[in-house]
Subunit: 342 residues, 4 copies
């Protein structure tokens, strides 16, 4: 069946699999202390323009968010995010599991803007009872957001400025970062992100890897003993070199962004397919997640032949649906979808 359910349905980019296979029986040191991990870290720091930073490899996104947030916050602190933030909605309370409240903020298609953040913080500290509430210690953002939308450089700078004023860490969830970096709609580069955020992660699972997320702390020392915190969260892969070889491959010759471009290309075509058939956008995403409004009956018919996600029930018998492309999506798959919709 034709499937656009998500961007983590395939395995790894063939170059990764080839390297994994080639070294399969080599004996490697465990827990990320091997040379390949070291090399991958250097390439990532170079791509981020922060050679003195730190990089850690974890396995999955929820795990990464929970570990980083737990590591950076003090017990009395909460984390702010968009009401739609993944940590708030779809991580089964993993952040609360380490004792921190997640506080949702209003957003525009998944993006929090600096004015909203500032207004929230001003009101928070103006409340004479604020010491009876968890103190905001971090802003969590997703880039691309859960709606596929992107922060601009100016937007992120403004957020970073508010965070600095109020003593919040700025943490960026880059589960789909490649699809953001590859977007022509975005003026936000990896070095920008490294300059503005206190921590972020570069998603592998959804962008070419079998699995794996690379946490970057652009400034060293922000998070002492993070290795032990990773272990404590059950997030330390014994065969850490599996992550090293994947990220080393992704960060060699720009593979990470290069393969992301294909997803965007196919996403634009997919978008045209829907728009030319008269459907309208539910959210205007310049990345690999595309959202459309369909009559429920159309969605039902389509669902018999195509996999996609039912995003929300709207009024008037309409639904919002999500279609996702990936680095592995082929033009033929889009063509087939077009035929089905014709």
């Amino acid at each position: 069946m034709l499937r656009f359910d998500s961007d983590y349905m395939e395995g790894a980019h063939p170059e990764i699999l080839a390297r994994l296979s080639a070294m399969n029986l080599e004996k490697m040191t465990g827990y990320g202390a091997d040379a390949l991990c070291g090399q991958a870290r250097e390439k990532i720091l170079q791509a981020c323009g922060c050679p003195d930073g730190e990089v850690y490899f974890l396995v999955g996104g929820t795990q990464t968010n929970a570990t980083v947030i737990d590591a950076l916050l003090r017990p009395y602190q909460c984390v702010l995010c968009a009401d739609s933030g993944h940590i708030h909605v779809h991580e089964a309370g993993a952040v609360e599991a380490s004792g921190h409240k997640v506080v949702g903020l209003p957003h525009r298609a998944g993006l929090v803007d600096a004015d909203t953040l500032r207004a929230y913080l001003e009101a928070f500290y103006a409340d004479p009872t604020y010491t009876h509430m968890p103190i905001p210690g971090m802003l969590y953002i997703s880039h691309p957001s859960e709606f596929g939308t992107l922060y601009t450089r100016a937007g992120l700078e403004a957020l970073a400025q508010v965070c600095r004023e109020y003593g919040l860490y700025l943490y960026l969830d880059g589960a789909r970062l490649g699809y953001g970096l590859a977007s022509e709609a975005s003026d936000l580069s990896l070095p920008d992100i490294a300059r503005l955020c206190d921590a972020f992660y570069i998603g592998g699972t959804k962008v070419g890897a079998l699995f794996g997320e690379a946490v970057v702390f652009p400034k060293t020392g922000i998070c002492p003993h993070f290795f032990t915190t990773v272990k404590r969260h059950g997030a330390l892969l014994a065969k850490g070199w599996l992550l090293g070889v994947q990220f080393d491959t992704l960060f060699t010759d720009g593979l990470y962004v290069r393969i992301a471009r294909n997803a965007l290309l196919q996403a634009r075509k997919l978008r045209s397919v829907f728009l030319t058939r008269g459907y309208r956008l539910y959210a205007d995403s310049p990345t690999n997640q595309q959202f459309f409004v369909l009559p429920e009956s159309d969605a039902k018919t389509l669902a018999e032949k195509v996999g996609f996600e039912l995003w929300a029930r709207l009024e008037n018998g309409e639904v919002a649906v999500r279609f996702v492309t990936s680095w592995a999506t082929t033009p033929e798959q889009i063509d087939e979808l077009a035929k089905l919709l014709a």
Copy 2:
């Protein structure tokens, strides 16, 4: 360099890698809901003789222990284990991270016996202040233990009996279970374990898989919503089918135990190499971890050419060392070691 540091230095058994490669670009449903995971679960339950049980696939051992223990215990409960238990010693406080005290018990070479357990529990409940202490809710055992030793069927039956009397869950950490099942020294089968334990896991990382551990609850319903608990622990792999294909391969035609036998064969040879050179055992292990006593100077010389683990500093200038074989260890590697020791 010749390396016997651990049993997680290589990748996966070639059959696993071949299957992964063959299906790399197939689009698979996420989070373990795919058909391969289903098939692997069935094979495992059949091998365990508990067709109505439940199986969940997680990524690593510390993660698995922390998730299962958190899922089964109530907040006021602690988990008992050998003083040498992995959860007590080398998991960075992952169990305490979910709020449970780990209480160490005396052991013989990593094994807790039923009399020790009973004596502890009798004394615990005889103490009039016991309600001011965490109530024992689980016994954690490792099989093989951290010293490579094995429980007998009678030994496990006796432990299970005490656990039932005192309302403790019996949970078996099978990180190296294959090496226990393959051992001729053991009369403990998978169905025995499934009959006697409330939960256990079958380790993949150290026995042929790239990574992955299969949690088995022999009786269904013991742990409602365990899927959500796994997600909450950041232990849910997005591409769950990666685990499905690995365990399906390992549990087809007895591959899991078959490849474990090689490790035991090489371990016996390795043991002879040391014993014939006049070194003595530090612990008497019938599995793939072998422990020897060496003069510190011998250990130093050897360490220049061979990787192994320094286990403990002893008196009189001696040290205990650990050598580990795996499914992938070759006879040539043992021969080479023998030459170096000659």
Copy 3:
């Protein structure tokens, strides 16, 4: 200065202080095992009409909520409450500290109604991704609510019915329960609450005690080893008899409700004072918390001479304010307020 800031500004009802003083040098058994605690428990269970239930005495409200919620929920569960619920807003993340998400629901003046709850739960379980979210395990309600409002018997029955259908515990925070029981506007008795709720607490701190809250589990066995959980939360008072003597006094000859009636009487007078001066209600409360809308300038002038709480900033230069009476409020204090407002 005239003060209506809260209902926990004074010490204890004089009868309590007299008994405490009389027994001050008696040697009492610790941790609530004394005869006075036993006697107080019996009186409470009798007043609740559930002689086979269990009663535990804790010190404060946030502590009580955190302890009961932690004791009843499993790790994968969240607690639902009104968006205005005290645990959600003013307890510094104490519930999240034990790993549980707090999920806010729409409310009318602090009250959640059964239809809202049912609609939320239907939508929750209709979402195909619900297993990636914390599973609702409890409904928390406050009675009186944070707005001084009260559930009716029919309203609570309807909530209890939905909770039973969806497997939620129903837990009632009775920090100000006395003021609810004493209200003529309410048809909800202690036996009703005990019949409909799985757990609730009878607040002492705000209703005549120096401090102390009595947790009631109407059915025994719902919460094994709760004593140890209380200790683990640091909520076990060494001199537990201090709580026993207070609750024994409050539940002798109906003192608890009797003294609450005075607060309601003074609250009605206070309300008249504001209404006759042309101010309007912000929320219509039949209990001891009263809410009014004032021009900000009036509030500022008044604040120079009277203590009260600024509740919310409204539009058009108005503010909402809260005035609270207690068992100890005197008619003279209301008269004085009336003069100040004249």
Copy 4:
């Protein structure tokens, strides 16, 4: 019945009760923001010789330990203490509840010495796998210890030195601090403790207060937002002035140490009673807890008429017992005990 079970069997020193009664109906600001709390804080800081420190009032000892330890440690850290430490043995896992492992060290009658600590830390950091273990972040000591014994100034200085070298906080549990300060056997003053420890608490519950413990951070800023952490732990008393008036009384004219002296005087007499009857000491305590070895039959006979604690079962039919005096113990009670033993 004559009772020497513990030092928290009576209420409060009469001066405290008198002041509480006198101000019972005064309206006081909540949560420790009142003038009495401010005044008590100043007196305590003055007595400690650290006028720029911070003082917080909590309700009980387990709560205080759990709150301070959680506030000071990072998630990856554990706390070290004597194997007999109260947090390790009798606090129902309250420290683990906030995610921190408690690691026991060998001790002499409850006291950890600097050499033991240093040896442990040297071995810890010499272990190449130490990053897989919780990193020591604090040393917890009790003074007097659980055996009534006392640190000397030199002993505490040596511990503090090791803590500084290894980056550990030094935290002193002073549940019975008054009985240590009053002891002529001790050269350790409050200013010494404040100079050497990063945090400690002055116990009220066992030394003259109804309840209450005063946490002292001798250097300000060590623990930002501690107020919110206290609230999050359910440890913030609404009527905080109840704690203020008690500590203000105890720290006026040296009442705290003065009343402790009586307990020591009676303890010395009690000790003579046993020694002159030929019983021997189980531990040699210079404070208000006294430990003796008795034939089990003697203990049983005595227990019919006197309350005391069975401390441990020894060999040869002997038991260790604990007798505790308090500020309220009278000479007559000792005389009566002497008669019973005659």
